[in-house]
Structures are given as structure tokens and as C-alpha cells.
């Protein structure tokens, strides 16, 4: 396969993924053969320090698997993960714990990620306890201030808080160790739009104040275009397009379809909604060739037999035989 090299994305890459692949086995019972699927396939991605990279795609595209791989929560089937230039693909023990201080994650469901028996204080002190460290004096209060929660919240249990407040606790917990990179897996997907906007504003403030780097996973292209400085589009396990400029017009037909499916709050823009036909095929029964071909309005004959190579474009790179010209 030909590949356009991932641009070094500025001088100071904090995270570099190359050829990252993760396969899962599923099923496999009495008289049923196990089936295998590739949740993330041969993925290259570099995240520069201070950047906010958005990964966008629909359910099952492998976004969360990518997040868990980058966090070293699951093992890759192939590929390498470099953090600040060091290969961390297979580190464990003390080195992995040290990495976890610099690399934190915020999950989609703030309820599921908080222990119902823990108060907010317990939850914010837990990262220190887990490593047998002393909690710095006043750190809990400081964290609550940073995420805009009243200090009195330290004694609250998760069920005493709203979804937005719980997600603030989730963010405070990720900040506990002053990390360099935070992976945010759909942190606002289960929140009301009004609360989503609050959380995004908070994340922007925190990034500015603490010089954080974000890898932001979302299914909402409109939100990613607003929040992120660089966009990675995934479909069925593969990166199909990278846009170096979030406002750039898409070159990949799937990115274009995502854009035409998003509802902007402007009734004068009605003509731009053009839903695409069909649904995502099962990852266990991928068609040969380009996985998007069955739904693609620009598909050519060869799209159905060969996997499209990744080629550079004026605005990034694209994996497509027939990209949309600028």
C-alpha cells in the first residue's frame, strides 16, 4: 500500500501513532466459528504539543478503540505508539504508571465513570492514592475551582449532581496530575446542547491556561470543526481523511456526506441537507475495496476491488480513488 507520510505536524510531536491496528475476535461458541474484525486498521497520526486534534466518525468506526489504544488501556495487534519521542507501545509497570500521569482520559458517560460510593473528594484524590502518593494540600479545592464547581461540592456523591456537573468532576480528575495530553472520548455526547457548550468553553479555557494538548473524539462534525484545530475522519476502522484546517472543504466523499448530514441552526441553509443513502455495513462482513463504496456517490469500478491509497491534498490527506477537487 502506498502511503503519504504523516506530516510531522509542527516541530514538537507529543504523540505519534504509526501503523496502529487492533483486531477483535467475536462470537465463537458451539458450532459457531469465531469471527474477527479490525476495529482500527493501519492508522498513522501525529499530535503536536498544544494542538486540539478532533477524531470524527459514526458508531463503530473505531474512535473509542483508538482512544483506548492511545491510552494504553488495550494492546494493539500491530503498530507503534510514541509518546514524547519514546516508544511506549509495550511498556508496563513503573514506566506505564509514569506515562499515565502525563496522559489522561475523560469518558463519555460521566455517570458510569464515577464510582457511586465515592464523594467528589474521594474521586479527585483517588489518582494520587492509586500511586501511593500523598494528596497535595488544597489540590482538591484547586481542581474544583479550575472546573468551575463550588468547593462545597467536595462532599457530594455522583447521584447528587447533574450530568454536566459530573462531567466537570471527570475533567477535574483528569487534571489531577497536571497531564500534558488528555484524550476526550465523546465527553459531551450524553449532555444537553446547553451543557455541551459550557463544557466545550471550559475545555478551551483549560487548554489555554495549562497548555494542554487534546485528542477529542466525537461523532459531531459541526462541533469538531468549531473546537478543533485539525480533523481526522474515520470510517470502519480507517482514517479516510485528515483536514489540517478545520474550515477546509472536504475531499473525501464520506466527509462531505457527514457535512451534508449536519443540521445547522439556520433555516436559510435548508438546501444544504442531503442525507446519504444506506447505512454502515457490518465490520465483520466488509466489502472488498473501499469500505465506503456501497454508499459512495462517486464510486468508480476499481473502488470495489482495491483499497484506495492515501494521497496528500492541499488541505491534508485523503484515502480515496476519486476525491472531490478543491
Amino acid at each position: 500500500m502506498t502511503k503519504a507520510a504523516e506530516p510531522s505536524a509542527g516541530a514538537d510531536p507529543i504523540l505519534a501513532l504509526s501503523g496502529l491496528t487492533r483486531r477483535f475476535q467475536s462470537g465463537g461458541g458451539f458450532l459457531r466459528p469465531a469471527r474477527s474484525m479490525t476495529a482500527v486498521r493501519d492508522l498513522d497520526l501525529t499530535v503536536a504539543r498544544g494542538d486540539c486534534v478532533g477524531v470524527v466518525g459514526e458508531s463503530g468506526c473505531g474512535k473509542s478503540t483508538l482512544a483506548r489504544l492511545a491510552m494504553r488501556l488495550i494492546e494493539p495487534s500491530a503498530g507503534r505508539i510514541l509518546f514524547e519521542g519514546a516508544d511506549v507501545t509495550h511498556i508496563r509497570g513503573r514506566r506505564l504508571r509514569a506515562l499515565r500521569k502525563k496522559l489522561q482520559m475523560v469518558f463519555q458517560d460521566p455517570y458510569a465513570s464515577l464510582d457511586p460510593r465515592y464523594t467528589v473528594r474521594d474521586c479527585l484524590e483517588e489518582p494520587f492514592r492509586a500511586l501511593g502518593e500523598k494528596v497535595p494540600a488544597g489540590r482538591v479545592e484547586q481542581l474544583l475551582d479550575q472546573v468551575g464547581l463550588p468547593r462545597a461540592f467536595a462532599g457530594n456523591y455522583p447521584h447528587q449532581m447533574s450530568g454536566g456537573q459530573r462531567q466537570r468532576v471527570g475533567i477535574a480528575r483528569a487534571l489531577a496530575y497536571r497531564p500534558d495530553l488528555i484524550v476526550l472520548d465523546e465527553p459531551t455526547a450524553s449532555l444537553d446542547v446547553s451543557i455541551q457548550a459550557q463544557i466545550i468553553a471550559l475545555l478551551q479555557d483549560l487548554q489555554r491556561q495549562h497548555g494542554l494538548t487534546y485528542l477529542f473524539i466525537s461523532h459531531d462534525l459541526g462541533l469538531v470543526r468549531y473546537f478543533c484545530s485539525r480533523i481526522v475522519v474515520m470510517y470502519l476502522g480507517s482514517v479516510v481523511e485528515v483536514l489540517e484546517d478545520p474550515q477546509a472543504a472536504p475531499a473525501h466523499p464520506y466527509t462531505a456526506a457527514l457535512m451534508a448530514s449536519s443540521f445547522t441552526p439556520d433555516p436559510t441553509a435548508r438546501a444544504t441537507i442531503a442525507p446519504m443513502e444506506g447505512e454502515i455495513p457490518s465490520p465483520f462482513a466488509l466489502p472488498p475495496g473501499c469500505p465506503f463504496a456501497p454508499r459512495c456517490p462517486r464510486a468508480l469500478d476499481r473502488c470495489r476491488s482495491a483499497y484506495p491509497p492515501t494521497v496528500p491534498t492541499a488541505r491534508g490527506r485523503v484515502a480515496c480513488f476519486n476525491p472531490i477537487e478543491a
Binding site: E58, S59, S162, G164, D192, V193, S194, I195, Q196, A197, Q198, I199, I200, A201, Q204, H219, D220, L221, G222, L223, R225, Y226, F227, Q247, A257, L258, A260, S261, S262, F263, T264, P265, D266, P267, T268, A269, R270, A271, I273, P275, M276, E277, G278, E279, I280
Partner: protein, 326 residues
């Protein structure tokens, strides 16, 4: 007018959850009922279908005129006949309307046989025709499938097919696409909008997303804490929202070319029903325009420029209504 709701008030126990809610929708129109979670959208839907009685709700005032008949006073058996036939209810979870043990076809057939007295064979022919119209590929084969064999988007289409099979005149859809992927959400929403125009059905679409409202609704009713904040034609609302809450909700959706930091959200959250004040504006805690008057007097409804607004200090009226291409 197909449906006219006037001064609807509803209580459960001592809580007064809806307070003089009014709106109307005619055949061939889509009305968006919009607000954050906890604003009373789903309760309104339940009140319209009489289902609210099952959770102990009592309509304490107002009328629900459906095709001239007041549903608020109708006994349960008569309501049940209307539900599922002339009025269809679609929820976020399609499985709440589907039977896991019966094929799709049997379930859709059953509706037509029950309500229209069709023979088995005629009902199936009609089912396949309806499924095809909803752009379900291989409709005859899908009719023989069980719900678990279909994706969420397909199941939601089947629920819509059941509404069409009964020749429903009014469809009430409560967040019908929240659980679906963005491309599938766009498909379903556009299918619903097309059906409304072609078959002159009335549709009440419940959503918290002003983007969806802008793209397919004709009319909008903004609810806040059990009261109507603002209602009227969609184009007018988006051209110049008068109520600070409507303006804030619209500002929660990222749009093309939005400046960084412009997405702010709405501070605080919707009050719980136990904390509803009566002689005040319930939005005052979160409103940038609030003053002493707002905290001690319920804002009167005023009708200006085609919009009904309940606010003491509304945003300025746009001098000329803009022209919107349809």
C-alpha cells in the same frame, strides 16, 4: 386546525409540571417542541396522547383540541382508539413500540388489519409498499425479519411505517433520532419531513437541538420549566429570537465560521419542578437581562411580529421579516 393546545396545565401530585402551555399545528406542518431536558417536552407529548395518566398525571386546565374534539376530557377507551390510529407516538427507543418475537411484516400488517380491516394479503402488500416508500432496501425480505436483525435506524423506520399503516393524521415524535448516527439521523428526519408534506400529516417533533428545528420545522414552540417562552414561525424565530432563552439555545449549536469562544452555553441549569416559582420568570436565574421585575412578576405573553413571547424585556424586534427560500 388539526391540533390546538390551549392553556394546558398538568400536575403530578403537588407538582405543577406544565403551566398554561399553548401551541397549534395544522395538516402538512411540522411543529418543533424544543427546550433543554427537564423543560416539559416529553410530558407535553404524554399529555397529548393521554399516556400521562399512567404516570399519575392530571390535566388541571386547558383544552387539547384534536380535529375539533377535546382530548383532555376523553375517557381512556376512546383515547386508546385514537392512539395508534389517528395519532401515532414515536419515541427515542424503537423497541418500545416493537414486539421482539414477531416479524416486522406481521407487526406492520397487524396495524393495517386492525384499523383499516384489510385482509392478510392486502395488508402485506401495503406493508411492503410503505417500507419501500421509507427507502428500506429489499422491503419484502425485511418484512420477514425480526427486530433484532435490524439496525437502530431501520427499526425506527419500521415504527414510522406502523404510523403510516394506520393512516395516522398526527405523529408525535419524541427525540426519534437521538440514539442514531448522524447520517441516519439526517435520513430519518428528512423522511419524516417529506411524509408530512406529501401526505398532509401533522408532525410534532420533540428535540433539544435547534439545528434540527431550523432544518425541518415550520413552527416552533420553545418550552422552559413547564412554560412557553416563545412560539411562532421558524424563520421568524431564527431571524431574530426575542426571548433570551431562545437566543441562548440557538447560540449553543456551533455554526459555520463561528468565532472561537463564541459558543458559550447557558450558565446553570433548568430548575427542578419542586423549585418552580409562580410569580416570576423561571429563566431569571440564568438570564443576562433579568431584573427585579423578572423576579417578582410572571412575564405576560405578548404577540408581536407573528411571535408569541413571554418576557418582560424581549430582544429587539426585527423591522422587516426576511424572505426565506423554501
Amino acid at each position: 386546525m388539526l391540533l390546538e393546545v390551549k392553556d394546558l396545565s398538568l400536575s403530578i401530585g403537588i407538582l405543577r409540571l406544565l403551566d398554561r402551555v399553548s401551541f397549534a399545528v395544522d395538516r402538512g406542518q411540522v411543529l418543533g417542541l424544543v427546550g433543554e431536558s427537564g423543560s416539559g417536552k416529553s410530558l407535553t407529548a404524554l399529555a397529548l396522547t393521554g399516556l400521562v395518566r399512567r404516570i399519575g398525571g392530571v390535566v388541571t386546565g386547558g383544552v387539547i383540541l384534536f380535529d375539533g374534539q377535546d382530548l383532555a376530557g376523553l375517557p381512556e377507551p376512546a383515547l386508546r382508539r385514537l392512539r395508534g390510529k389517528r395519532i401515532a407516538f414515536i419515541t427515542q427507543n424503537p423497541m418500545s413500540a416493537l414486539d421482539a418475537l414477531k416479524t416486522i411484516g406481521d407487526q406492520v400488517d397487524q396495524v393495517a388489519r386492525l384499523h383499516l380491516g384489510l385482509s392478510r394479503r392486502a395488508a402485506r402488500a401495503r406493508t411492503v409498499e410503505i417500507l419501500t416508500r421509507l427507502r428500506i432496501p429489499d422491503a419484502a425480505q425485511v418484512a420477514r425479519a425480526y427486530p433484532h436483525q435490524l439496525s437502530g435506524g431501520m427499526k425506527q423506520r419500521v415504527v414510522i411505517a406502523m404510523a403510516l399503516a394506520a393512516d395516522a393524521e398526527l405523529i408525535i415524535a419524541d427525540e426519534p433520532t437521538t440514539a442514531l448516527d448522524v447520517t441516519v439521523q439526517a435520513q430519518i428526519v428528512m423522511i419524516l419531513a417529506d411524509l408530512v408534506r406529501q401526505r398532509q400529516i401533522g408532525l410534532i417533533l420533540i428535540t433539544h437541538d435547534m439545528g434540527v428545528v431550523a432544518q425541518i420545522c415550520d413552527l416552533v414552540c420553545v418550552l422552559y420549566a413547564g412554560r412557553v417562552a416563545e412560539s411562532g414561525p421558524v424563520e421568524t424565530l431564527f431571524a431574530a429570537p426575542r426571548h433570551p432563552y431562545s437566543a441562548a439555545l440557538i447560540g449553543c449549536i456551533p455554526r459555520e465560521g463561528m468565532a472561537p469562544g463564541a459558543l458559550k452555553g447557558i450558565p446553570g441549569g433548568v430548575p427542578s419542578a419542586a423549585a418552580y416559582g409562580d410569580a416570576c420568570c423561571r429563566f431569571a436565574e440564568r438570564c443576562p437581562r433579568a431584573d427585579a421585575l423578572c423576579r417578582r412578576t410572571r412575564p405576560p405573553e405578548r404577540i408581536e411580529g407573528g411571535m408569541t413571547v413571554a418576557c418582560h424585556h424581549p430582544l429587539p424586534l426585527l423591522s422587516a421579516a426576511p424572505e426565506v427560500a423554501r
